[in-house]
């Protein structure tokens, strides 16, 4: 067992570091949850992509560098250590792209992935519905067969950044005759433009009022057959198997938390009261948590590289990082004292508000704990 990087990994790290040092904006970009910030982040995605840094782990033909998971983790460490902006393309890159790699056609990959990598087309995830959150399989939006494709109708909601995004991907009920006891059947996974006829996008302010969140009203929106992912009716299986392996590793990379914990320690050294051991302990816990998550991920990456699969274990990740993220930001706000109340008091406030959503999205932590208990500990299945 070792934590030593190979010469090639070290060289890659240096190359990433040098590029980032020359390109990361000196001033933080405005929030990507605002129109102005969204545009600035889109431009940043383009700059990353121009030198093949937007999707380093993708094959070269789609704009990546074809590097393995270890180098991807190295890149992420360098990215966040350099103060790289949040990634406005993340839904496409982390959620849709892995699905296309596994279930898409060559034509879809060639058409969809390069503009995703460059930020030219930014994707929103349209899974949730007003009546279907945790119980996603109960969704009611429909896809009806028509000449050359499908007509989709219904309502989607809580779609991150859909107010400004270009296209969306989501699940639709294509077989209404399905047995009520088997709601996972008869769903179709497809993609559609957010400016198509029949789509109404209504922005919803997030907790802090920022307007990029949205609900989508769909009224007979035409989707050509080319934009169906995998077999019609197989949408659930496709959506759920979004490379369960890598997703556990890639949804939130540790580099982000390591960099944030470092920033917290600098802040504490500059402003922390030496006698306040309660706060000191929380700062230490932030450092410990970042290190734990980093090493846990390296262990998973090693398992992955050794050909093992990582399934339900990714639920451990999810609960850990989402709760850790909140604790980290709460500590920072407490350290700031009265200044911590300022909404525009810098990255901490924005990060805090964002962290609060972590236990809710990507499968709520209650659902993740059910998965851990049932699949990892073997406890009896309960009602869902």
């Amino acid at each position: 067992m070792d934590l030593d990087f190979t010469a090639g990994e070290g060289e890659f790290r240096q190359r990433a570091r040098a590029w980032l040092a020359g390109h990361v904006p000196g001033q933080p970009l405005p929030s990507l949850e605002t129109r102005e910030g969204f545009a600035a982040h889109r431009a940043w995605e383009g700059e990353l992509a121009a030198d093949r840094w937007s999707v380093v782990s993708w094959p070269e033909e789609y704009g990546g560098q074809g590097v393995d998971i270890v180098k991807w983790l190295v890149f992420e460490e360098e990215y966040f250590a350099a103060g790289g902006p949040g990634r406005v393309s993340q839904n496409g890159i982390n959620l849709l792209a892995p699905t296309l790699f596994d279930f898409g056609t060559d034509e879809q990959r060639a058409r969809i992935l390069p503009p995703m990598a460059s930020g030219e087309v930014i994707w929103a995830q349209a899974w949730s519905e007003p009546e279907s959150g945790s119980d996603l399989a109960s969704l009611r939006s429909t896809a009806r067969r028509t000449e050359g494709g499908w007509l989709i109708s219904g309502q989607k909601t809580w779609s991150s950044r859909a107010a400004f995004a270009d296209r969306a991907f989501g699940l639709f009920r294509s077989d209404p005759a399905v047995d009520a006891a088997k709601p996972h059947r008869g769903l179709t996974y497809l993609m559609f433009p957010l400016d198509a006829d029949g789509v109404t996008v209504r922005p919803i302010g997030r907790l802090d009022g920022k307007p990029a969140f949205a609900e989508l009203f769909l009224d007979d929106v035409f989707v050509p057959d080319d934009d169906v992912i995998g077999e019609p009716g197989q949408g659930w299986r496709i959506a759920m198997s979004t490379t369960g392996n890598e997703r556990g590793l890639t949804l939130r990379s540790p580099g982000r938390f390591v960099a944030t914990a470092d920033r917290l320690v600098r802040q504490w050294r500059a402003h922390g009261g030496p006698g306040d051991t309660a706060l000191r302990d929380r700062v230490a816990d932030a450092v410990i948590g970042a290190r734990a998550y980093q090493l846990f991920t390296w262990a998973n990456a090693s398992r992955f590289a050794a050909g093992e699969t990582i399934g339900a274990e990714s639920s451990l990740n999810k609960v850990f990082w989402s709760e850790y993220d909140i604790a980290l930001h709460e500590t920072a706000l407490d350290l700031l004292g009265a200044e911590g109340e300022l909404a525009d008091g810098g990255d901490w406030a924005e990060g805090y508000v964002f962290s609060l959503a972590g236990p809710i999205y990507a499968g709520t932590n209650e659902i993740q704990r059910d998965i851990i208990a049932e699949r990892l500990l073997g406890l009896p299945k309960g009602r869902r």
Binding site: M1, D2, L3, D4, F5, T6, E9, V70, V265, W268, T277, R280, D281, V283, A284, D285, V287, I288, G289, R291, A292, Y293, L295, F296, W298, A299, A301, S302, R303, A305, A306, L316, V319, F320, E366, Q368, R369, D370, I372, A373, E374, L376, L377, G378, L379, P380, K381, G382
Partner: protein, 331 residues
Amino acid sequence: MRFLLDDEQREFARSLDAMLTAADTPAAARAWAAGDFAPGRAVWGRLADAGVFALAVPEEHEGMGLLPVETAVAFVELGRHAVPGPVVETVAAGALLSRLAGLGDAAPAKRLLPSLASGDAVTTLALPEGGPFALDADAATLRLTATGGELRLASGHARVERSLDPVRRLARLRPDGELLASGPSVTEASRYAADWASLATAAQALGVGLALLDRTVAYVKQRTQFGTPIGGFQAVKHRLADVLIGLEFARPLLYGAALTLKTPDVAAAKAAAGEAAYGAARAALQLHGAIGYTAEYDLSLWLTKARALRSAWGSPGECRRLVLSGGRGVG
């Protein structure tokens, strides 16, 4: 970068597990608590045969070399099986004497390390970095103290005090006794040994937590109330899921610390493993209900140890201070 135990290390864990399962360690622990050391000494002999006490002893002193990862692997198993005795202290004493030899003072190492590595010497140790008590001073055959830059063979010990964990027998060592070494190298070797002690304690705590979780999972699957196994209730499931998360994130900290042996990394592992094991203990007691609260049920062996290990060789607060200060004797 391959941050995974290799086959040999996994095999080492498996063989210790099998050996300790056969050794009936709970019975040995209960006897130890009552002052009957013979069954514990028998387990000790088997651990020595497996090489456990040679893991912090260089080969020239009849050890296996300084092997912190293997030490962590072994102590997870010792914790899982609630092995009694000053196991941490013996390995840490090995590290101390080895380090002292590395710093130029080889005489104490030559004299003491071979018997320590072979398991003949059951060794306890009191260092400024640890608490005021030496563990199992009445069972030990070798008692070392290092204070004020002087390493001594303690001439004896005060009355044995009761620990929250009845298996841990605590006593202050007498500060006098034969002087083995003195000077700054003793101070440095003592700090080094404290890191080993803290690492081994973290591993032991992780093992204790894993044992508590295993036993509790098994129990909630078979204990039925309201006509259904209690493990089907979401409140129960979620509590155990949190225990697993705590333990699974302490584990990489432990192995990461074993690889670097840096004080802040060791302290992070100790803090995390201590908290995770204690969380496991609280959940285990709650989910066992009243039977968990009884001394005669074996669960108690791990329950009380989880609390004791939390403060042994680095309290939570001290560990957190070390994480931020960057080292022992700093800040």
